[in-house]
Symmetry: C2
Subunit: 326 residues, 2 copies
Amino acid sequence: MDIILWRIDNDDSVLASWFRLKYPHVAIGALASSAPILQFDDITPWSSFNDVVSQDFKSESLNCFSVIKAVWDVLDERGSNETGLLELSKNFRTCKTVHSVSRLGLWLRAAFTTTAMVDYPTPANFMMNLPAYPVKEMCKIIDTFPPGADVIDKAFAAASLYYNYTGDQKCFEVEGGDDPHALHGWGWQACTEMFMPMTVSNESMFPPSSFMPEKRSEGCFMFYGVRPRMHWITTQYGGHKIDKVLKRFGSNIIFSNGMRDPWSGGGVLKKISSSIIALVTEKGAHHLDLRSATKDDPDWVVEQRRQEVEIIHGWIDQYNKDIARM
Amino acid sequence: MDIILWRIDNDDSVLASWFRLKYPHVAIGALASSAPILQFDDITPWSSFNDVVSQDFKSESLNCFSVIKAVWDVLDERGSNETGLLELSKNFRTCKTVHSVSRLGLWLRAAFTTTAMVDYPTPANFMMNLPAYPVKEMCKIIDTFPPGADVIDKAFAAASLYYNYTGDQKCFEVEGGDDPHALHGWGWQACTEMFMPMTVSNESMFPPSSFMPEKRSEGCFMFYGVRPRMHWITTQYGGHKIDKVLKRFGSNIIFSNGMRDPWSGGGVLKKISSSIIALVTEKGAHHLDLRSATKDDPDWVVEQRRQEVEIIHGWIDQYNKDIARM
């Protein structure tokens, strides 16, 4: 009962590669698309995720990047009192008046971050309904405002592309509310084994922040009652010098990454051996290759998927040959 | 902190190979001497262990093999009543009168089985003090008796080579007593993860027996309060078609086996890839290669050790080259 694993979620892509490494007798290969297996300990620069998000926006428009970079201070300033919060609640069309300006910041950040992840070349509905090239579309919205317009209005209008592309949202649940993307599952992972250090650098479009493992651990304990196992993954699966180790170990793994995907910073971007291969697309986003084909797919996506299918066929052929020879 | 593992115990040799497979970033290689990694599920014929023991004795003398094969029925017959047990206790010079003839049988079997394992070409004291080629010496003892001598006396004299080569034992603790070889550790292993199916075939020199997993499981529960995980190892580490899997996976493992070692039946005896290698010696016994060198070592042992050292040096050189290139 040999199987090939591939899955569409972020952590599942990571698991696909690890499963192949730990159970080579069960899975004959893995397509690990957008799998940040190096986003642990000190292997990858901690700022890489937010750096890529910022670069995605900057690549569309320097003005767009600057507007987003400017919004956080304005938001904090206006949200420092009750009157300001009431005003901001109107600006953001929140369903209920917000009690904390930090929730508005998180709401905005989630829009920009997720849109960078799903910056697909065709319309898609992976997290939300979005048009093709949604980062470009967000920046168009920002750039279309007259120069003197309020930075809060610009940021809100851009975020609305993410939260309300179909236009059917009357108001937004900014505080609490449900979890439409089941990110609590990811939160649990990030609080147990998938403990990924992340920071925001001064060059990013988000407010700079450093990595405070103790603070994160406290948060995990408060929210889930667990403490992260900070170094478990690199102990269990390696990571430091993993290219050197895997060169003489393991086989049949495709690591695919799109360089516009913020997770690509923690991905394997170089060929490791003849059968542990990296497929990198400059314009690709988060597991674009795993999405259903559409008639509007650019040639480079079509070609990437063709290569993947060809490689996987090769694994299966080899497997059948080995079986026949026994 | 990369390490190379090699250890002198049976289960540790198995663990060395598994550790290399699961933690290639921690151990750069493994010398798995006499590691029966295929002695699980239905991979290896279940009778192989006792078949090799029997073959070891048969190869020295057909009479020796036949005497040992004949002793079990005689033992059971005479031990079927109190008078017989008292008489047998005298024959076997037991410290206390035995209450169960089965204990005498186990005592004899342990001597023959273990002597087959440690049938080294030089005097050694791995389990007990023994001369060079102890199986040959046991058979000499049996063959030296006059034809009409009692089969029990012959078997006891042969077993005494194992239990009393130095001649300082006044009597033998056949029932209960301590565990000089710490085999309780092995018993625990065999009752939890290292669940190896074993039988005795009609062609062997021991009383035939089949494999009854339920009975063994009951025994484990009575003795240790645990139940075996019968298929855990093949799930965790593979085994079925492991040669096919490891051919394209893993590296830097030496599987060494001596064909006189009863464990060799469950060992990897063929080269799997350019760096997963089998070293087989026809006359070798249980991890002979890992024992200290002596001036009397035959050439083939010296050569085997030389090859192993050369291969391990190759791993270390390659590792250092990889490090230097980074």
